[in-house]
Symmetry: none
Subunit: 250 residues, 2 copies
Amino acid sequence: MATAVCESIKIVLVEPTHPGNIGAAARALKTMGLSHLCLVAPKNYPSAEATARASGADDVLHAAEVVSVYADALQDCTLVVGTSARRRSLAWPELDPAECAERLVEAAASSPVALVFGREHSGLTNRELDHCQYLVRIPANPAYSSLNLGAAVQVLAYELHKAALETGGGAAAALTDRDRPATAAEMAGLMGHLQDVATQVGFLHPAHPRLLMRRLRRLVHRSQPDRTEINILRGFLKAVQRATDGRGGD
Amino acid sequence: MATAVCESIKIVLVEPTHPGNIGAAARALKTMGLSHLCLVAPKNYPSAEATARASGADDVLHAAEVVSVYADALQDCTLVVGTSARRRSLAWPELDPAECAERLVEAAASSPVALVFGREHSGLTNRELDHCQYLVRIPANPAYSSLNLGAAVQVLAYELHKAALETGGGAAAALTDRDRPATAAEMAGLMGHLQDVATQVGFLHPAHPRLLMRRLRRLVHRSQPDRTEINILRGFLKAVQRATDGRGGD
């Protein structure tokens, strides 16, 4: 995989419990030409077991970024895809592994992106999924869909590698007249602003904002606004604030 | 995967050294709807480590066929594909994982077939490959192509599952709980409402609304809102109107 694309795809493991899986993930990445592993609040790490399972991929393991706060891992990412072992009741737009890989590789040509894996036993929380524009689900046996974490990383890394080979090693995405995609931080700023205004005008109940905000976030994420569009939407929200209470919000 | 096809695809591990990999392979099979594992002269088996790594797939592990002679595992098979981590100097016909999976699933509809994995460190010997009609190689990083055995089983089992779904294993289209897409009229209603509100709060200049509205329309269209989402957005706009001038707009 072209180096730039490879380095722009971050594989994020959220609170992995078994150090063996961390090592297995490092190895899976390296076999598929990926190198950027990020661990969010790992249990038992560093660990001899992780190093043993990484085998010849200890360079990827040692270079792994370790953060304590989930959102910190995604700050600079313009596209975030979460993995899920089951269909969710609230339908995040769902991609199959090949589609997911295509989108990530395409987006990685211009900016950092992330593919996020949850805890071994409980996956990602809905709150963590709120940071994701898409979900990817590996098609599996409905009666037993529980892939080992390292194995799931291997399958999706394999699809990323295939997608990278197919797009000719990082062919730049088709250019449109769109501005650069918004980062996770810019998106969070927009959603926070929207929540404030929606509360201010009495649309959101301040004590129970969650479900409605989740639906709105999903809708906004789906459109993948660029930076200019984020600014337009925030301009509109500021105008609403001014008209409502006479002061420009920010 | 249809039961008959699933049972006709035998996954053969030749002299696996690490019992953890045997357990991981059993788990990988079960997640992908496969059930037939065959072990040729395994070291350290049975083993508590294999059982632990099999996790909820201990049924597949316990049902595994154990043979001491490689050829015995293949006796009844009409198609045998061997895995290889590297290109071989003697050119066996080589398949990529997806082609390999298609052929195995197709052949398994009428008779037993086998997919053979070699030892962790040295793979399959040329003599063992002589029993194979084809080789399959997982595309990988040329500088480090050494997938863990369990991870390699997972990738190829995943391709087998995909192939089985595609050949009419009843692959239902992904269902989500999204409401029906908004009609053009509902979308026009939303955009008209947005234009009214944006004008009312002073965000749009009433004489020159065009360019900004076009950008907003493009953004909203891109997210393809469903009917419920349109209603949520219009609810928000109504709340803004109420907060701004004390009357509910429509």
